[in-house]
Symmetry: C2
Subunit: 502 residues, 2 copies
């Protein structure tokens, strides 16, 4: 890159950042009704162009039409769900302390606190969800709902789709009365990194590989004024199966496992990368049978294909790993790879000694069946080998629940699993993430760089910060803190006199 | 340090970390009632030994008896306030999504989310609050309330007091039925840094200098699994005064300013380091008169004294700075410094060009009176020169409020100030921080490394993370998520069918 080009880049970055800052000033004055309207119009605009958008996404990502139509719908629902969150106002966590001349530590002033938008947010979009974790995806919806302008760094895996979605959504936001540049798109990688270091950008979200995520997180932390960086960096989502569960329903379990590994060609952050079963379990035939029905699926792009080929080869090279079902891998004339799922097996001790060659995520339709000896302390195994995941799943036999009020041994195991993951499933499969108030999509590092969630309504909290106004006259207070509560938000009031008992 | 000593250090660090992890397992099983009882017994133990503790603190810090008695009481109140928070349970943010076969994106499982303790917390104690931000201070109270064991790195400024407080509080926690090692103390600096990098430590809190805080924050971010680091690194807390406010009450304002700068020898993180007044204001006589009454006060320790002497000298060396009132500085035979307050004045342009020599915090009784031209955009000045502070204060004339529903020009200024600070005061002085639900003590960098608060009940949120349990049988669920709600915590339930309208 020449000196002139670098200077062009600087100008672009400064311009984008300046526009976001200008938009922030306008957004701060928008009412909740206007913000909610913007989110709903954005959802509608995507729906109005569904056929065109899905067709573009199919060409660019190789994902199936049904999957993409479902993902587009999820993207619309996310936007509309956050419109409800904005209107509800509970996310503001408004707290009002009445002035209290008798407060136990001396006279207390009038204090009013709420959570406010942090400012412009930079969102690095994902490759594997061209709608739901990309331009108008969950991170964008949460940041817009919080009142933050968003700059999206498009993923190069689906550039046409990104441009089109950005144009539709940006237009819809303006139609709703929100400022120009509330949503902006950049496509250049250097611009994305430069924006991460720009003083106007106040938080960043990222979904992608561990390597890139850690690099960007380090840059965010090394700024003169560090900003929060919410990276979702992958996960291996172990599934633990008890002997009793297998006794009851081995075939259904193994078919469910194969289906969860194979969906979207295993290119989901919640794909189960490990199935832990008791030693002596007979699983080969059921896995092979279920996998036989899985059609060939294109991987997202040649770069993903290269990584998949390399990681599978590394895993297969570990001594003690046995192939249960060898999947296919072929390149077409465009350099795209087409695959069917691969399953291998290994004793627990092999997993322990193999290190990252087996333990690191394989992004694609590959999973390891791990045989553990009877009497193994599964919580200890998870703490040792899988301490940071988006999900952990436990399949128990029907006789292993109902242990009474304390939960007994299995209750302790469930509680322990909560230390190592963001979501603990009792049965079922981790793929398929509900977009709801109670969802947690984020777990200890390396699954995410912080413990925030990037799915569900709690995601809005990542783009908010607390500010307290002290002894402000009513007329100068922001709307949600005024006595007349013009937005009608829920509030927690601490009355005077409450400290008398302390 | 010899190889043997390093190995001793490693053993100590591993032992402390192991004990904290063991304590965490026990704490996780403790009921809210037991945790609240532990906090209350800790407060009582401090009160029972008030005379002894205050006397020790006086010798070690030079702070006045009345200030220390008040600070000890605040420390007790903090602990008891968090006992109420634990019993109330709202901090858990429990969300229950009912299973919904008709959910708009396909059948929704039963999802139950709450905030859980992150694990062992490392707390680097402060020099300037030997009680309230030290061994049993706000960070410790918030972490214990969250259910996290705490390892305190004692500040070397008050070692005897730290040991004594740790022994009293640790004993009280055990008497309440909490695990041994729920509170541990380390005094060695290398041990503190090593613990920051220990995998068992899951979050850290720090109150101290910008230099040390940034160094520790970088270490926390560079771990293989980064952890949140909540550093409070100082603040200059500008106070903006309008011409109308001065017209109305110049003498009271200037006396209040001198008092706020001089309290505790200016060694408070909320000391106003700048007073911005309109050009042409006559303030010298009032400042000199008010400062004449301020007695000599010892600085906390020789290291603080060295920093104060150096920073004051740097500020006085800036061209265009005029001395309004020269304070005293003398060393006693123990190397401790005794001071009276110093006030200087400078036009706004001098502040702009002087850079860090004037703008960086001076820790001690020193403040700069800045003269701004009529018509200055104060919000722009704050954004340019003071973008990250714990507090910003605005003194207006009585005719400048009551501008109607939109808040007018002054309302816009107040809202803008909220972007650059954690607490915005309309009148009054930033020193004296109420410990309440609505307090925010934390602002944009460099005031704090994240936007969390270290004072008030919202501080508990720094030591929590979300975990969702999906389709778990009642008997295996943690108590606050069970249908029968044995802890009686408030919960938000999303009923089935709610998505039908989307």
């Amino acid at each position: 890159m020449t000196a002139t080009a670098a200077s062009d880049l600087d100008r672009t970055v400064d311009d984008v950042a300046h526009r976001a800052t200008e938009a922030f000033a306008g957004l701060s004055r928008a009412t909740p009704a206007t913000r909610a309207e913007g989110l709903r119009r954005a959802a509608a605009a995507l729906g109005d162009h569904a056929d065109e958008l899905v067709a573009t996404a199919q060409v660019e990502t190789g994902l199936a039409e049904a999957r993409l139509r479902g993902e587009l719908k999820r993207t619309q629902v996310q936007l509309r769900l956050f419109a409800h969150v904005v209107e509800d106002g509970a996310y503001l966590d408004v707290r009002i302390d009445e002035a209290d001349p008798e407060f136990v530590l001396g006279p207390r002033p009038d204090l009013r606190r709420a959570l406010w938008p942090v400012g412009p947010v930079l969102n690095f979009a994902a490759s594997n969800f061209p709608f739901a974790f990309s331009v108008a995806g969950g991170d964008t919806a949460a940041a817009l709902a919080a009142g933050c302008p968003v700059i999206v760094k498009a993923h190069p895996g689906h550039p046409w789709l990104s441009e089109r979605v950005a144009a539709l959504v940006a237009g819809a936001l303006v139609e709703a009365g929100l400022p120009e540049d509330t949503l902006q798109l950049v496509t250049d990688q250097d611009a994305g990194v430069a924006l991460l270091e720009h003083p106007s950008v106040r938080a960043a979200a990222f979904t992608g590989s561990q390597r890139v995520g850690q690099l960007l997180a380090a840059r965010a932390a090394a700024r003169p004024e560090p900003i929060p960086f919410f990276g979702e960096l992958g996960s291996v989502n172990p599934v633990l199966v008890s002997a009793a569960a297998l006794d009851e329903r081995a075939d259904a379990l193994l078919a469910g496992f194969v289906g969860s590994v194979s969906g979207s060609a295993g290119q989901l952050c919640t794909k189960p990368g490990f199935l832990l079963v008791p030693e002596g379990t007979a699983y080969d035939d059921a896995v092979v049978a279920a996998a036989a029905d899985v059609p060939e699926h294109r991987l997202l792009n040649p770069s993903i294909a290269d990584g998949y080929e390399r990681r599978v080869s590394e895993a297969l090279g570990v001594g003690g790993v046995r192939v249960v079902r060898a999947g296919g891998f072929r390149r077409d004339d465009d350099g795209q790879a087409w695959v069917t799922p691969t399953f291998v097996a290994a004793p627990l001790d092999v997993l322990r000694s193999a290190g990252e060659a087996l333990l690191d995520e394989v992004f694609g339709p590959f999973s390891v069946i791990v045989e553990y000896p009877a009497g193994t302390d599964l919580a200890a195994v998870v703490g040792e080998l899988f301490p940071g995941n988006l999900t952990l799943t436990l399949h128990l036999g029907s006789g292993e629940t109902g242990a009474g009020e304390t939960g007994g041994e299995q209750g302790a195991l469930v509680a322990a699993l909560g230390r190592y993951a963001g979501r603990v499933l009792l049965g079922g499969w981790p793929t398929g993430v509900a977009v709801t108030p109670a969802m947690q999509h984020g777990g200890p590092s390396p699954a995410t760089t912080t413990d925030g969630t990037s799915v569900g309504t709690a995601a809005i909290g990542r783009f908010l910060r607390g500010v307290t106004f002290q002894d402000a006259p009513q007329d100068l207070l922001p709307a949600p803190l005024r006595d007349d509560n013009p937005w009608g938000v829920p509030r927690t009031v601490s009355p005077r006199g409450a400290s008398a008992e302390w």
